[in-house]
């Protein structure tokens, strides 16, 4: 019989580290990655030889990323694997590390992500299947279509999309790891020339570079290595699903999110109303509204009103993307999902400084990778 994460031994996030996300520059990926991993080791208070398996989420660097980068920590012989799952690469890498510890194969594992901007190789364009929309619908137009439908169905306006940018840019301004740190006003978005439909440039996330590292451990390892238990955050569930054929839903990203989030919440024994922190895949501002509804933070069509009322602010009912989200913290692809888990961990430890959502105990991370796949993790502070 198949099992969920809760049926195995508990797994805790014990160390997090980031190289701030930034616009493309001369920094080699090796330096980005090492900065994040050394940060996570220091945060956990452990040393590199304690790590028993490594998964590196990366989509753009190329073959053989892990060992070429991580040998500079001391070539310990630890098993290493690259994980490519489009935008969900980092989430999937952390998931593999979690599964290693849960199963008992390892006591301490590292899931990380690192990337630098590059022209991606897209498998969907190599299938040999000719379609009517080949080369026609870039991601921005995909979301412009969904945005137009959403406006039609629920009376939402471009101001509603702009409010997502206003909130997340204010959050990003407080986050020293964020790529975009300037708070924006509604007018900043309304005065922009659209790219496609209602989508303007500041409603789109920046693609940059950076790295994020998450060290997970068993209770045995916490005991043996004297890791600070009060800062350990339990991984309550880890769900990864792929898109099915939704005969009556053209917004497959939202439907996929609904299915995956439901599974993750059921496994963790958590209701949407109990979430304090949610980091969503807001590569485009409209996505935050779709996914807030798909996860169950808002009823269909009601996310704009909740956003406007401040329900998704830091200090609101549930802080949505207090890191600044993909929109402002950035979306360097490989690191993004691992970075979400690091950011939620900071919040649940109460260590998020000016971004802190008071009393945060339960958090969710959510990434969609083209194809499509969806990864959702739920983290809990049991202390």
């Amino acid at each position: 019989m198949t099992k969920a994460l809760k049926d195995f031994r508990p797994v805790y996030v014990v160390g997090i580290g980031l190289h701030p996300y930034q616009f493309m520059g001369p920094t080699p990926y090796v330096e980005l990655g090492l900065t994040a991993v050394r940060g996570a080791l220091t945060d956990a208070g452990i040393s590199w030889p304690d790590v028993e398996s490594v998964y590196t989420g990366t989509a753009l660097i190329g073959m053989a990323t892990s060992r070429i980068m991580l040998r500079h920590l001391g070539a310990s012989g630890v098993p290493m694997t690259q994980v490519e799952n489009a935008s969900a690469s980092g989430s999937s890498a952390v998931r593999q590390a979690v599964l290693d510890v849960a199963s008992g194969m390892t006591d301490i594992s590292l899931g990380m992500g690192v990337d630098k901007p590059a022209i991606p190789q897209f498998a969907p364009s190599k299938t040999g299947i000719k379609n009517l929309d080949d080369g026609l619908v870039e991601p921005v137009s995909h979301f412009a279509l969904l945005a137009e439908r959403y406006m039609n169905d629920f009376g939402a306006t471009i101001e509603d999309f702009a409010r997502v940018v206003v909130k997340n840019s204010a959050n990003g301004a407080l986050n020293e790891n964020a790529q975009k740190r300037k708070a924006r006003s509604i007018e900043d978005i309304l005065t922009e020339e659209p790219l496609s439909g209602a989508i303007t440039p500041r409603q789109c996330c920046p693609i940059g570079e950076g790295a994020a590292a998450v060290i997970v451990a068993s209770e045995d390892a916490i005991e043996r290595l004297g890791i600070d238990r009060s800062r350990a955050i339990r991984v309550a569930s880890s769900s990864l699903t792929s898109e099915q054929v939704y005969e009556n839903a053209s917004n497959f990203d939202a439907e996929l999110t609904r299915v995956t989030a439901e599974e993750a919440m059921a496994d963790a024994g958590v209701k949407a109303s109990e979430l304090d922190i949610v980091e969503v895949h807001d590569a485009f501002a409209i996505e935050e509204l779709f996914y807030a509804e798909a996860i169950g933070l808002a009823k269909p069509g009601e996310a704009p009103a909740m956003l406007k009322a401040g329900a998704f602010d830091i200090g609101g009912d549930v802080a949505v993307s207090p890191s600044g989200g993909l929109l402002c913290m950035g979306h360097p692809i490989g690191p993004t999902g691992a970075g979400q888990i690091a950011e939620v961990t900071r919040q649940l430890r109460g260590e998020a400084g000016p971004s802190q959502h008071a009393g945060a105990k339960v958090g969710m991370t959510h990434m969609v990778g083209i194809g499509a796949v969806c990864a959702v993790h739920i983290l809990k502070n049991d202390n």
Partner: protein
């Protein structure tokens, strides 16, 4: 051209020979079928910036074909003010602008007061 699965009845677009996305049937169980280029407009987007061809501006429509599948394609009208979500649209063949290529391309147009062969 679309595809029909004789095992589960799923109708898909575009046609491909790899297998049915719903039930996994392949080979003789899936066959290509002509799908009527008519359906209901689900959404549209006027694209003002675009990398590569076609040159912007142009308007993309998402259409649910009467036979079931969702398709996305160019609308005949590059100015989206005249189209409405929920209206019936039909496919029309438009000569391509490329003079060296005597082909035509399928676009979608509003079906109100307009008949096409």
């Amino acid at each position: 051209m679309g595809q029909t699965c004789s095992k589960c009845g799923h109708v898909a677009f575009p046609a491909q020979t790899y297998g049915c996305e719903v039930c996994g049937a392949y080979g003789d169980a899936v066959s290509t079928t002509l799908l009527e280029a008519s359906g209901e407009l689900q959404s549209y987007a006027q694209v003002t910036k675009h990398r590569g061809k076609p040159d912007a501006p142009f308007t993309i429509g998402e259409i649910r074909l009467d036979s079931g599948p969702y398709v996305r394609g160019l609308m005949t009208d590059t100015n989206s003010v005249d189209i409405q979500i929920g209206e019936k649209v039909v496919g029309v063949l438009i000569p391509t602008s490329d003079q060296d290529d005597a082909k035509s391309e399928l676009r979608f147009a509003s079906n109100k007061g307009q008949q096409n062969d």
